[in-house]
Amino acid sequence: MINMIETLISGITYSSLLSLMALGITLLYRTTKVPNFAHASFVVFGIYTSYTLALLGYNPYLGTLLGFIVSGIIALILFYALLEPLRRRKSSIFILMMATLTYDILMFGIINIYADYLQTTFKIPARNVYLAPQDFTLIGLKGVTIVSTSLLIVLLMLLYILLNRTIIGAALRAVMENPSLAQANGINVSLMLALSWFLAGGLAGVAGALLPMYMMTDPSTGMLLIAPMFCASILGGLEQIYGAPLGGFILGLATTVLVSWLSGVIGYWIMTYSLMVPYITLIITLIFIPRGVVSIILKR
């Protein structure tokens, strides 16, 4: 029983992190109309931001703030260096997708070079980033659980206020609804898209900064995350911003709690295949509810 509660808490932590990542994917899909295949790189930059802070002796939780900025900037570079020139040339969605995939490859190279650099400078194995031993505990809960869930709630509220209570948010919504009409009415669409990339990159950076407190990470963690991130985003509904956390929690809890329960029923060997949960969920979602869970709720 205690084990089950522990699993549930771990599942909520994972779900919160997944939600932060999926939120960015959905936001970018709504504004730029492109699935961002470089999103995992933004997360990995977050990982190495908090790791670097930890190596320098700072509290790794500072990484959430710095990771937001670092990954936000990494996302902005993608937008201004590749996507905006392509958008000006009226390139197809396919070319834009290819561009995000290319950027992911580039960033993978850069983060590995950085890991090599850390390795030679600090004489540490920079390819196994795990900060959980340094985490604090409060009333029996792990720090990462408290921080990730509360950060998710706070960031969601901030995002809601930004989108619905401010003029910039109104402009962002106008760009999502009808970019050419938004532009025709004095909204700087390019700037709004840039803002959405910064925000999405930042959210991914926050999630990445917290990730090493939760699990063992390395530069290729991004490849592991691609499927769960997109699955959560599609599960919630690519067209519904607030569907992302919903998808994140359904998938996150399925991956942790459901698999742990199944391992008790069927056998421990099934844990080896917990990695397959996102893929199976993705396939089921695409076949039965390609527009996501929120679309079913809205229909009623």
Binding site: I167, A170, E177, N178, L181, Q183, A184, N185, N188
Partner: protein, 237 residues
């Protein structure tokens, strides 16, 4: 006053307009007519910074608009009502209008006044103001689109075939409304229309555009007298 001189424009390598010159005055309706593919929409796109300008000039009240990005042109008091995709479909009618008004830098009082003016002009929109815009009928949608153009009280209103694809009763009504707008609001109206009869009825000045060149400039009655042009390109007379 809108003054276009010797405008050459198009999209990339596709040259559409050749040496187009045009003048449109305040409190007047200037209509641009012509067959399909003549470059009418390209003319509006060029004014609004959506096409590539190779040479020539576009000036609104002695200020050059060439090379400005669309959002800057919009802030100079130009409204462009597209033929299609001209509303925010998931917002309500009033949200559509208020959203656009907020970006024009109007203060709260001006927005309320402008909104009232628009509801006076189109009472049906007042009735529907809490309705999601995507669920409006074709005619109502077009009224909303024009209202989105009017809410910031523009100096220049560009209308791209506002009556295209509408039911007959809406066509007559919209044409009436455009005439009313001309009388009550102080702005330049540049109208691109397929419906030549209706356009000739309300226009103060007419240009005929064929294959990217202006082949006629004058009043509606002068055009009707030029039988060759009216018949060959416009199917009138």
């Amino acid at each position: 006053m809108l003054v276009i001189e010797k405008l050459n424009s198009g999209y990339g390598k596709l040259h559409v307009l050749y040496d187009v010159s045009l003048t449109a005055k305040r409190k007047e309706i200037t209509a641009v007519l012509g067959p399909n593919g003549a470059g009418k929409t390209t003319l509006l796109n060029s004014i609004f910074g959506l096409a590539d300008i190779y040479s020539g000039s576009i000036e609104l009240d002695d200020e050059r608009l060439n090379k400005m990005p669309p959002h800057m042109i919009s802030r100079r008091g130009v409204s462009y009502v597209f033929q299609l995709m001209n509303i925010f479909p998931n917002l309500t009618v009033e949200e559509n209008l208020r959203l656009v008004a907020r970006f024009s830098g109007m203060n709260h009082k001006d927005i309320e006044n402008s909104l009232k003016e628009i509801y006076d002009l189109f009472p049906i929109l007042k009735e529907r103001r809490r309705q999601v815009a995507g669920t409006l009928s074709g005619g109502e949608r077009q009224m909303l689109a024009i209202s989105i153009g009017l809410i910031k009280r523009p100096r220049l209103l560009l209308l791209d075939e506002p009556t295209a694809g509408l039911a007959v009763r809406y066509v007559d009504m919209l044409i009436e409304k455009i005439l009313e707008m001309k009388k009550t609001m102080d702005m330049i109206i540049l109208l691109v229309e397929q419906n030549v009869h209706k356009a000739l009825k309300i226009a103060d000045k007419v240009y005929v555009l064929v294959s990217g060149r202006i082949i006629f400039e004058g009043t509606p009655s002068e055009l009707v007298n030029k039988e060759d042009i009216a018949k060959m390109y416009l199917g009138v007379g």
